[in-house]
Amino acid sequence: MRHIISILLENEAGALSRVAGLFSARGYNIETLTVAPTEDVSLSRLTIVTSGTDAVIEQITKQLNKLIDVIKVVDLSEAAHVERELMLLKVRATGKDREELKRLADIFRGHIIDVTESTYVIELTASGAKLDSFIQAIDAGLILETVRTGVCGIGRGERILKI
């Protein structure tokens, strides 16, 4: 099962590597990982997408909580939440492909944020699955580069992760 785990941790040198090291040392997998400071700069919010059995996820949560730098851990996917991921896609855009790519970007509610004679950079924010379908919708031969931020997510309504 895929899980999105949100973590509040001290914004200190080495805190991220403690989290990443925990996953590698115990053989848990990381599908995506995003981290940045919150509105309180002494805190970082980290989102990890991982997968495993219930027992594995329980251990991951407990082991994360055990890290001294970790303040709170929540499994977002346990309840209602929204998730988004940002992707930048550089494509070869020449001839009739230019129109087609523009149209596809519109359909997926993406934006073209850089244009040259031969390339576009398309920005797209959506769920990971939707980003995947966008990539599939484009002729693979036209894709020059893709960059994805990894998932960040937040609970719906009054579900709040804060100290």
Binding site: Q63, I68, D69
Partner: protein, 570 residues
């Protein structure tokens, strides 16, 4: 307030923490610290001969006292040499503070002389670590380190201090208390859960108590003994938990696990309610977890570390909390209520256990011509009247010491249970000897293990540590040889030790007393000579023992607990 250098601040903090002994080895990056040490005499420095031993010795001190052990090492190789000691302490949850020197801040990352990423290297084997980048953070970091090391589930904490920070100056202020928003270990157990557990225990037909190192570390032995006596249940202590309940008591079934007794293992396997306290269902204790879980039983698990609960075996009643607090609560509830265990039901269970006991699985055949290693431990127990602090290394001798020395008190048995580090025995004995003057200290070891930290004979001489080294010398890496005999068609690949030193002469060369014992009838006399005549000396007794002796019972790796191999001697 006067200005102090970083080095002076470090030493002052150690004084504030009432640290009596620091085990260490000087080097370039810690010269300021050693200079500050030199200018005071409250904190005594014990100069070891290898940094690994500094950490082990601090660890031995901590294990034998409940104090935080402190080690001081230099940057680069000093820190990397300390890693084995740190990992050893981490696996057994021992509270340590390790201070390592680091190259000056501006050199970090430039491959400077004796530079290594100490914080990075130690990260997976510490409870927490710090790199101090500002002298103003130094005192508070040290306060945090001591607090983290010895609270919750204890563990080693590394503080890496660049050389320039030890030279920089600032005002000294030591915080009296410390609060960490991200670290608040639970102490009190959940009352509802405790009641639920008690209910299960009182209803049990075949109850069993299984306790580990957590009871020793939390100083919960007294409460445990009270509770178990009160309930009249059988109890087993793991290798790390020996001494939590008096081993000479009738309710004690011996150690469980790979080399546990028949009665302890079968009671673990066949009980209907298992009370696990400060233990972690380690592979060496329960064998194959699937086999263990295939038998229906209710499990109650008390532990301060939530991640230890339901890690290897699913638990029915988890209780997160500090062991003595939870047990106090249980005793209080027992006192308040009228219910007790059903004596008749319990008598049936004990009848079954006594049948298992009647197998006398620990019996071994004594020989006239050659010393049996088990016999040495039995005699050691007699001669020291069960009052010694016994340290051990890792291997057959460790198991025999655990099986045949009856520990009636906690903190008397020091060994590396988790990491299984050969070489800890002598440095553990050093730490224990310093912290427990007047208590007899025996280091039970083998000719393989003792050579892993043999250089510490020199430290022991310098600080006049009256350790008795009980060397069970069978000229083999015995445990390896045993596995090779049993599982590898007796192909003794690299397990025979040729060209051993003359240990008597070696001990003498270091200025100690050496004795060689080759006949069973001389065992007791030699031990008396060591513990009585040479009470204040380090004595190295080299017992030449049976090469073929194996440790039994044995549950082979990956097998279920009931699948025990027993000695063929009987």
């Amino acid at each position: 307030m006067t200005m102090m250098t970083g080095a002076e601040i470090v030493i002052r903090c150690l004084q504030e923490e009432k640290v009596e002994y620091v085990f260490g080895y000087p080097g370039g990056a810690v010269l300021h610290l050693y200079d500050a040490l030199f200018k005071q005499d409250l904190v005594k420095h014990i100069l070891v001969r290898h940094e690994q031993a500094a950490v082990h010795a601090a660890d031995g001190l901590a294990r034998s006292t409940h104090k935080v052990g402190v080690a001081l090492v230099t940057s680069g190789p000093g820190a990397t040499n300390a890693v084995t000691g740190i990992a050893t302490a981490y696996m057994d949850s021992i509270p340590l503070v390790i201070i390592s020197g680091q190259v000056p801040t501006e050199y970090i990352g430039q491959d400077a002389f004796q530079e290594c990423d100490t914080v990075g290297i130690t990260r997976p084997c510490v409870k927490h670590n710090f790199l101090v980048k500002d002298v103003h953070d130094l005192a508070v970091t040290i306060k945090k380190a001591f607090f983290i090391a010895n609270s919750g589930r204890p563990g080693p904490v590394v503080i890496d201090i660049p050389k320039d920070i030890t030279a920089a100056k600032c005002r000294f202020e030591y915080p009296e208390t410390i609060q960490l928003r991200s670290y608040n270990p639970v102490v009190k157990g959940h009352l509802g859960q405790i009641k639920k557990a008690l209910h299960l225990l009182l209803e049990a037909k075949r109850p069993m108590v299984y306790t580990g190192g957590g009871v020793i570390l939390s100083n919960g032995a007294e409460q445990l003994t009270k509770l178990v006596r009160r309930l009249g249940f059988p109890i087993t202590n793991t290798l790390m938990g020996l001494g939590a309940y008096p081993a000479s008591d009738q309710q004690f079934l011996g150690m469980p696990g790979m080399h546990g007794t028949v009665e302890a293992n079968l009671a673990m396997q066949n009980c209907d309610v298992l009370l696990a306290i400060g233990a972690r269902f380690d592979d060496r204790v329960i064998g194959n977890p699937d086999n263990f879980s295939s038998i229906p039983r209710k499990i109650i698990h008390i532990d301060i570390d939530p991640s230890s609960i339901s890690k290897r075996v699913k638990v029915d009643v988890p209780i997160v909390g500090n062991v003595p607090d939870v047990l106090d609560e249980m005793l209080k509830l027992l006192d308040a209520g009228s219910a007790g265990p059903d004596a008749a039901v319990l008598a049936d269970w004990w009848k079954q256990i006594d049948e298992w006991r009647a197998k006398q699985c620990m019996k071994y055949r004594k020989k006239k011509s050659i010393i049996m290693p088990q016999y040495v431990i039995e005699k050691l127990y007699e001669v020291t009247e069960g009052k010694a602090i016994v340290t051990s290394d890792v291997g057959q001798h460790q198991m025999w010491a655990a099986q045949y020395y009856k520990f009636d008190q906690p903190r008397r048995w020091l060994n590396s249970g988790g990491l299984g580090t050969m070489g800890v025995g002598l440095p553990y004995a050093m730490g224990a000897a310093l912290a427990n003057p007047g208590t007899p200290i025996a280091c039970v070891t083998g000719e393989g293990s003792i050579q892993m930290c043999i250089q510490e004979l020199s430290t022991a001489k310098q600080f006049r540590l009256p350790i008795k080294i009980i060397n069970l010398n069978n000229r083999y890496l015995g445990m390896v040889r045993q596995w090779q005999e049993m599982f590898y068609g007796s192909r003794y690949s690299e397990s025979y030790m040729d060209s051993l030193p003359d240990f008597v002469k070696l001990a003498e060369a270091y200025g100690h007393v050496g004795i060689r014992v080759e006949r069973p009838e001389d065992v007791e006399g030699a031990l008396k000579k060591a513990f009585v005549d040479h009470k204040d000396d380090l004595v190295f007794i080299d017992f030449i023992t049976d090469q073929k002796a194996n440790v039994f019972p044995m549950v082979a790796a990956g097998k279920g607990l009931a699948d025990m191999l027993l000695t063929e001697d009987l």
